[in-house]
């Protein structure tokens, strides 16, 4: 009985905490990814390459922080989905404002240089 209780508590401890290695790994990865994104500026990449690399490293870092540091990877889907689906609204907003920005810059250039 005693040994069974001991293994039960030991098992419980193992499930309720994560090994320190996973945090150190994620920590190291975040350092490396930040270093890479700094290198994008250092080597002065321009154009599509610069933007895609910046976005790639940014989303990778954000994903690692949310999944492991904020423990979303280990949460139940009810919480994860409630948190992540509203982000699609932001993506729509970004799309709308890209279109709006193009319209604004067009009207500005038109009225500044062609006249009303």
């Amino acid at each position: 009985m005693v040994s069974k209780a001991m293994t039960d508590t030991k098992k419980k401890e193992e499930t309720s905490t994560h090994k320190i290695g996973i945090y150190l790994w994620i920590w190291g990865l975040l350092f490396v990814l930040s270093f890479f994104s700094y290198m994008v500026d250092w080597y002065n990449f321009q154009g599509l390459l610069r933007w895609s690399l910046i976005l790639f490293f940014m989303f990778l870092k954000a994903g690692l922080i949310m999944a492991f540091f904020m423990h979303l990877f280990w949460e139940r889907y009810a919480l994860v989905n409630v948190l992540l689906w509203p982000m699609t609204a932001i993506a729509c907003f970004v799309g709308l404002m890209v279109a709006e920005g193009k319209y604004t810059v067009f009207s500005r250039l038109f009225y500044f240089f062609v006249g009303g």
Binding site: L24, D41, F68, R76, N81, L83
Partner: protein
């Protein structure tokens, strides 16, 4: 913190539909304070998104050239200009403090008072370093370069307004986080979370889950910086 009773529930999307359709609790095994912190962070995400989207829209529609951040935020080290040096150091400091916070949360789970307190304190010091460097960055831009919310010597006038608004709002979050980290470092060292001593304002029993909730806030601050670093400094 995974609860052994949760292992019996179905996982994945089936589990999600059962959780949402179930009695009493939607977020099974999630402390109410933690759920509330997540909801707050979600609303905060929308606030920061609005700032960044507004910045994107304005930057895309100005007719003057936007100041080149790599040069604006560069520093001279022994006469050699290094692009974005301070910002890179700030980024590494904030990631370091995020890592120490993750370890503090881990030791909080294990109810390891000394290690948890040590790492919360280290996180607070990291955050304080970050705020200090940001104060240096601001004072350099304001007093040395003459950047103002209504104009600057580098290019488009809107640059200053967005810079002060976005980094200022983020810096406010960091500062509030640092204050709470120092308060909680003291609470951990005093053993509040071991004895279940009642909080001064809330009069509720202290529990190590508070460290996890504080950790969520702190990681969020780091998360926002990832986006600011990418969109404001690198873009």
């Amino acid at each position: 913190m995974s609860d052994p009773t949760l292992d019996k529930l179905p996982g994945g999307f089936k589990g999600m539909s059962e959780d949402i359709g179930s009695d009493q609790t939607t977020f099974k095994g999630v402390n109410w304070g933690k759920a509330m912190m997540w909801i707050f962070l979600l609303s905060d995400t929308f606030v920061f998104s609005c700032f960044l989207v507004a910045y994107m829209k304005v930057r895309a529609s100005v007719t003057e050239p936007w100041p080149y951040p790599s040069e604006v935020f560069g520093l001279e080290v022994f006469g050699v200009p290094v692009p974005l040096l301070l910002i890179a150091i700030m980024t590494f400091v904030l990631i370091t403090s995020s890592g120490t916070m993750a370890l503090a949360v881990k030791y909080g789970y294990e109810k390891n008072r000394k290690m948890c307190g040590l790492f919360v304190l280290l996180t607070a010091i990291g955050g304080l370093t970050f705020v200090g460097m940001q104060a240096f960055e601001w004072s350099k831009l304001i007093f040395h370069d003459g950047v103002r919310p209504w104009g600057n010597p580098f290019g488009a006038e809107q640059f200053g307004a967005f810079f002060f608004m976005i980094t200022g709002f983020h810096g406010t979050h960091v500062s509030i986080g640092v204050i709470f980290l120092f308060i909680f470092a003291r609470k951990v060292y005093r053993g509040d979370f071991d004895t279940g001593r009642r909080g001064y304002f809330t009069t509720m029993k202290s529990d190590y889950v508070a460290i996890e909730i504080l950790g969520l806030y702190w990681h969020f601050v780091d998360l926002v910086w990832v986006f600011i670093f990418a969109f404001f400094y690198l873009w």
